[in-house]
């Protein structure tokens, strides 16, 4: 699988109200890679995600998967939103099964895959519970299971832990790292949290606002065997600090 984003541009509005949100964003994601886009709000990172998901159309540039252009949403790109994306009238298991039912898979297959992916995200015991009976972290794990069960070629994660408390956030980051290592999934993560991006992604693209663009790309080659150690290792902290300064220098002056 090869996701290619080529000179992507996006503007909203017309005439004098026209606002340029993205300018010539290009990058690629290959099978098994974990790529992150990091930027402050207004850097257009969520717009990039929506364009890749096919929920919006670019003003210019192209998105393709294995050479086929992306024009509409499809189950080859699974998406996990920040919040409010579980169907509140369906149980955890029914939520996981939902995408597979839309795909028209057989009942037997849906039952087996639902059980399997609930197991993968550690929620086999909660299969019959409604979303409102699950914690925020559990809800996001169901959303991830639902996206994975539809067998996407790439998983799009739009600030998936942005609405969670810090402790839950850290355990969810470890969960996602484990999941990536176990299942070999391909993922594109959007986050404003530099630490989260460095912990999880092998390639981190840093985006700057007005207009949104990629200003720096970093390959993160760190030992990820223990996240607890990684968080406090000197090389990790040095890299984080350097990039944090970089990000701060991109912020528009506060006086304007």
């Amino acid at each position: 699988m090869h996701l290619q984003i080529d000179r992507l541009c996006k503007s909203f509005g017309y005439g004098s109200k026209r606002k340029e949100v993205l300018r010539e964003v290009s990058f690629a994601v290959h099978s098994g890679e974990f790529v992150a886009l990091v930027g402050s709000s207004g850097s257009g990172k969520s717009t990039v995600m929506r364009l890749i998901a096919g929920l919006d159309q670019p003003s210019a540039g192209s998105i393709s998967i294995d050479g086929r252009p992306v024009t509409a949403p499809g189950s080859d790109r699974g998406m996990v939103f920040q919040k409010y994306s579980l169907y509140p009238w369906l149980t955890a298991a029914q939520n996981v099964a939902f995408g597979m039912e839309l795909q028209g898979r057989s009942r037997q297959e849906i039952r087996e895959r639902t059980a399997y992916f609930l197991e993968v995200v550690g929620l086999a015991d909660s299969a019959r519970r409604l979303p409102r009976e699950l914690s925020g972290g559990m809800q996001q794990r169901v959303a991830i299971a639902r996206a994975l069960a539809a067998e996407p070629q790439v998983l799009l994660l739009d600030e998936p832990f942005g609405a969670l408390d810090i402790q839950i956030r850290e355990s969810m980051q470890e969960f996602l790292r484990d999941l990536w290592q176990r299942t070999g999934l391909t993922a594109l993560l959007i986050t404003h949290d530099l630490e989260e991006a460095l912990l999880l992604a092998g390639t981190v693209h840093i985006m700057a606002p007005s207009p949104g663009r990629i200003v720096r790309t970093v390959s993160v080659d760190l030992d990820r065997s223990s996240m607890g150690h990684l968080r406090i290792s000197p090389s990790f902290l040095a890299l984080r600090e350097e990039l944090a300064q970089n990000l701060r220098s991109l912020e528009p002056a506060l006086t304007c």
Binding site: L55, G74, S85, P88, L102
Partner: protein, 255 residues
């Protein structure tokens, strides 16, 4: 009196107490003879009028006639309002096309259509059913449209990224999400339907609870008028409770 206190904590206790109080005041007022029986019949007289109409079969026949009109008219209204309301709520073009029109007709009082309906369709069942339809359809549609506009965008977009097309998204995401509000809309507008059937029967009908009331007026039978009013209220209350029970069972996730 701990038993009494426990009894009063029952959710219905105060409501029943309120009704009993009014009944008691009514009985006292009529029992001491201070009010002309013609204006305010006693509860016993109303009860007797009810028994009499029940044993002659009139009450059941009238009630069924009214219920049938309400049921047919409201079923047409509810059944048509659901797809049109969903279409208006999800499609901005359809919404801009129909919303001003419906907003206008909604403010035309339905009883004002009665003369037209009689000219067009005579005095049969059709004009009465259509009156109920006209009086509830536009409210049903606009309220369903509003409910659709509150479906979180993420829920629909998630379905799209899972490979869902328009029709499955409408039936499997939008429809279940708005189900509680739709049932509530129906419950509220059912009260108008019930009002309108009586209005239609007051104007022209051979049977029905409204017809019975207007006949009773001609013969100054206030006991029968009271009886009719109470039966209308009770049937309305039962329908309301039915909708609430349905909502609790079908939409427990929303509570």
């Amino acid at each position: 009196m701990p038993e009494f206190q426990r009894l009063m904590r029952h959710p219905w206790a105060l409501g029943i107490l309120g009704i009993l109080t009014v009944l008691l005041l009514w009985w006292i007022t009529t029992a001491n003879g201070s009010v002309n029986k013609l204006f305010l019949p006693s509860p016993q007289a109303v009860w007797q009028a009810g028994q009499q109409q029940w044993s002659s079969g009139l009450l059941l026949k009238d009630a069924l006639a009214s219920i049938q009109r309400v049921f047919i008219g409201f079923a047409m209204s509810a059944g048509l309002a659901l797809p049109i309301g969903i279409a208006m709520g999800t499609n901005p073009v359809i919404c801009r096309l129909l919303e001003p029109l419906m907003g206008l007709i909604r403010y035309m009082p339905a009883p004002a259509f009665i003369p037209l309906l009689i000219i067009y369709f005579g005095l049969d069942e059709l004009p009465k059913v259509l009156l109920i339809f006209i009086g509830t359809f536009f409210f049903n549609t606009l309220m369903i449209m509003d409910a659709v506009k509150f479906v979180p965008r993420e829920l629909m977009e998630t379905a799209r990224t899972l490979g869902g097309r328009t029709l499955p998204i409408l039936t499997r995401v939008v429809a279940p999400f708005i189900a509680p509000q739709v049932l509530d809309t129906y419950r509220i507008n059912m009260a108008s339907a019930w009002n309108l059937v009586i209005v239609a029967e007051l104007v022209a009908a051979t049977e029905g609870l409204g017809k019975r009331i207007s006949l009773a007026q001609r013969f100054l039978r206030t006991d029968e008028i009271f009886m009719g009013l109470i039966v209308i209220g009770l049937i309305g209350l039962l329908i309301d409770l039915g909708f609430r029970a349905l909502m609790r069972r079908a939409c427990s996730w929303a509570n």
